[in-house]
């Protein structure tokens, strides 16, 4: 027979304003096993926890129920409290009377009734709880960073700085990501490459960091502290160890039809190429779609000219498998496709470009060597019109419902840089709202207007059309209630950003949750913003939500701190709420093994005494270090042999019964 204490939290007015907490505490006083019940203003506070500890000792409690917020919030807190008072932490149950009750109801009477039922449900469960003890699993002291942009680079450098080994897996031929494509950064206007490339070099030179470029994650097994990851090293047809980055092959390559991805396909590149001058690793890669040798078997010119003998047309994809304790996802973003926005004429007019394309045109290493020339005829544009929110804040289905967050600032940056460099250029910006929260951000935007005379027009563009070689931009000027028509030479679209599409595959491999916009979900928006709900997986950069470089770097360092905190531990406590099979009931049908997402179930042949006879039986066996306690096997098992510790069928049914008593 249990001796149960019930503790109802007011959560200030969060619960107490909607739920009569005293009535709840009173109502359950005489329930089975309950020997003590109390309420307190903030149960999670020092004093609240002391109240629980004292009650456990004074009333010799064997189990407690806390009626409070979601267990995701404070279950760990109250488990620690119980343990400090000598009670097994798995004898604690949380009744969620905040998120599941007070926050969603208005009627005090009904909410109180519901709170009583929820608390009774938890009491019913505690009556059947048994103390559980956590096992231990070792931690592999190596981290994996997926994505080699600024987020991945920063996370890797910080983790390596603490002395742990890190692998960066980057799907492209070089690390650097989107930041490498950017010309200048807001709000300081410092050169992006000048601050990024030293960090890239640091990565390459750091003994603890292994850069696996041109590689992709193919398979992930295991769990926090103990991941086993299969990585595909795509054939680049160039020996990474031999290539010196001399670029002679690039000069001699006769196939020059490939589109330069780094320059947003604004110019051509050879079939064998190094993405950009400061690439890390500074090693060539062959594009098999463009290479004449790989397609027809004739040519081989690059192999002939390569002094290092690095070219190898026979190279095949290779697979390596490594163990990691923690994984940082930093897969980044891309601008959205603009096919659905024909009103802006992006696909018909060469001189309607995206902001990232403008970034390359303005860059000294870009297709025009940094001279602002329009793509169609190489002329200097005299009138430039920017359109913001192209596909952002769009609930019509064509774009994205969210604000892409970076566009207001980079548009102000572009407008300002153009007016600075080419003062005779007229610059217009169509905006819906200008959003500039951030240190020195609004000051930056105001400089574009006040100092550089950029013409900001409140309103959206309805259509862009070509008339005698001029781009006619027709839009609203809502302040003056006018329709305006601007004859422009160049139109720049601030296209919405979306997570890099490969993140979906990564999320599936990691069983990390992802939202409807393909952003990875953090564990808690405020309290665990860099952790995925999947233990041991951390999120950095735009894969978690739109953000600029300062925020990305902060988040990456935060991830590194979390990873370091994990890797310094020699052992991790495992979750004792794992599945186990009742040997006499198991019929060895294998259904549980086929649904287990973690591969925790194997089968053993075992001699059992059944009805006085010895039989050799095939029985399910769960590896408690691998099992994550999801319960998929327990509901699949046709004979009811599988059960979950701490969440047994009996416990769940007792809860259901309690709810149905009403």
């Amino acid at each position: 027979m249990q001796r149960i204490g019930v503790f109802i939290c007011w959560c200030g007015s969060n619960i107490a304003a909607t739920v009569d907490v005293e009535r709840v505490a009173d109502a359950v006083k005489k329930d089975q096993g309950v020997v003590y019940s109390a309420t307190y203003q903030y149960m999670c506070s020092e004093n609240g926890q002391q109240l629980i500890k004292n009650a456990i000792k004074e009333h010799s409690l064997t189990g407690i129920v806390v009626g409070s917020c979601s267990p995701r919030m404070h279950e760990a807190t109250f488990r620690k409290t119980a343990e400090a008072a000598g009670l097994n932490s798995y004898m604690v149950e949380i009744a969620n009377i905040r998120e599941h009750c007070s926050w969603i109801h208005k009627d005090r009477e009904e909410a109180t009734e519901k709170a009583i039922i929820l608390v009774r449900t938890a009491i019913a469960k505690v009556n059947l709880n048994a103390p559980l003890s956590a096992g231990e699993s070792p931690v592999i002291k190596r981290a994996l960073v997926i994505g080699g942009g600024i987020a991945g680079i920063q996370a890797a450098l910080d983790i390596a700085e603490a002395g742990f080994e890190v692998d960066i897996v980057e799907k492209n031929a070089t690390i650097g990501g989107r930041m490498a494509q950017i010309d200048k950064t807001f709000p300081t206007l410092d050169c992006s490459a000048c601050i990024l490339t030293p960090k890239m070099v640091d990565c390459a030179q750091n003994e603890k960091i292994d850069i696996l470029s041109y590689s992709e994650v193919e398979e992930v097994k295991g769990f926090v502290g103990n991941f086993s990851v299969k990585i595909k090293r795509k054939a680049r047809f160039v020996d990474e160890k031999k290539c010196t980055g001399c670029k002679l092959c690039m000069e001699k390559c006769p196939s020059k039809k490939g589109l330069d991805e780094f320059n947003m396909k604004l110019n051509k590149r050879p079939a064998i190429y190094i993405p950009f001058a400061q690439a890390i690793p500074n090693v060539a890669v062959i594009d098999p779609e463009q290479c004449i040798k790989l397609k027809t078997g004739k040519c081989g010119l690059c192999q002939k000219v390569c002094g290092a003998g690095a070219i190898d047309y026979t190279q095949k994809d290779e697979y390596i498998e490594r163990g990691y304790g923690a994984i940082v996802v930093a897969t980044g973003f891309k601008p959205i496709e603009l096919n659905a926005f024909n009103e802006f004429g992006y696909s018909e007019n060469q001189d309607v470009i995206t902001s990232l394309e403008l970034e390359r045109i303005m860059n000294a290493a870009g297709p025009t060597n940094g001279v602002l020339l329009r793509p169609s005829d190489g002329e200097h544009p005299k009138v430039i019109t920017f359109i913001q929110c192209v596909g952002s804040r769009d609930t019509s289905g064509c774009g994205k419902p969210y604000c892409s967050k970076i566009c207001c600032m980079y548009t102000a940056k572009h407008a300002m840089l153009i007016r600075e460099k080419y003062p005779d250029t007229e610059v217009h910006v169509f905006y819906i709202d200008v959003r500039t929260p951030g240190k020195n951000y609004d000051e930056f935007f105001r400089r574009a207007v006040e100092q550089y005379g950029v013409d900001y027009i409140k309103g959206m563009v309805g259509k862009v059309y070509n008339e005698n070689g001029k781009l006619m931009v027709q839009g609203s000027n809502l302040i003056d209630n006018e329709q305006v028509l601007i004859e422009s030479d160049l139109v720049v679209l601030a296209a919405a950003i979306e997570p890099e599409p490969s993140v979906r595959k990564i999320a599936t491999l990691l069983t990390a949750s992802i939202d409807t916009n393909n952003f990875l979900t953090e564990s808690h928006a405020k309290l665990r913003p860099v952790e995925s709900p999947t233990a041991g997986v951390y999120l950095a950069g735009v894969c978690q939500g739109p953000k600029d470089i300062p925020e990305t770097v902060s988040q990456a360092s935060a991830c590194a701190a979390k990873v370091i905190g994990l890797l310094v531990k020699d052992k991790l406590k495992t979750n004792p709420c794992v599945a186990s099979a009742n040997e006499t009931m198991c019929n060895g049908c294998s259904q549980c093994a086929s649904v287990c997402p973690y591969g925790a179930i194997t089968y053993v042949e075992k001699e059992l005494r059944v009805d006085g006879k010895t039989e050799l039986r095939r029985i399910a066996s769960v590896n408690p270090a691998v099992c994550q306690g999801c319960g998929a096997c327990t509901v699949t098992c046709p004979s009811g042999a599988m059960d979950l510790k701490g969440f047994s069928s009996k416990q769940i049914m007792s809860e259901v019964e309690e709810i149905c008593k009403r």
Partner: protein, 128 residues
């Protein structure tokens, strides 16, 4: 009918949630009849949201709107200014007690590519 009831009625008829509008003006930025309209497409949405239905009922723009649906097509928030204009137009015509359209007139003229609202509004305008 009170002003509030009239507003609710127009909102219901239009099937549009005017609160979704984020005042970007893309509707008016695209409108080919903009210069002919005394009240602009974006103002129809805004005035209705403010409950200023009387101004809309008096507007000349309900007869100059082409019902071309460009505003509906372009709206990033799935608001339909043309549907609001159509609802106002309909309210005015109903108050006059005449519809001007016979049921049997419709079938031979229906083309599946033409938005049905365009047909309806055209009948109403030309029969007013």
């Amino acid at each position: 009918m009170t002003v509030k009831e009239q507003c609710e009625n127009v909102k219901r008829m239009s099937g549009t949630d005017v609160r979704k509008c984020m005042k970007c003006g893309k509707c008016s930025g695209r409108c080919p009849a903009f210069h002919e309209m005394d009240i602009k497409p974006h103002q129809f949405v805004s005035l209705l949201a403010q409950g200023r239905i009387e101004e809309l009922l008096k507007s000349e723009a309900i007869w100059s709107c082409l019902s071309c649906m460009a505003c509906v097509e372009r709206c990033p928030r799935a608001v339909a200014p043309a549907a609001v204009i159509e609802a106002v137009r309909d309210t005015v015509i109903r108050a006059q007690g005449a519809n001007g359209m016979k049921a049997e007139d419709i079938p031979p003229m229906v083309d599946e590519l033409i938005p049905q609202q365009l047909l309806m509004s055209a009948y109403r305008k030309y029969n007013k």
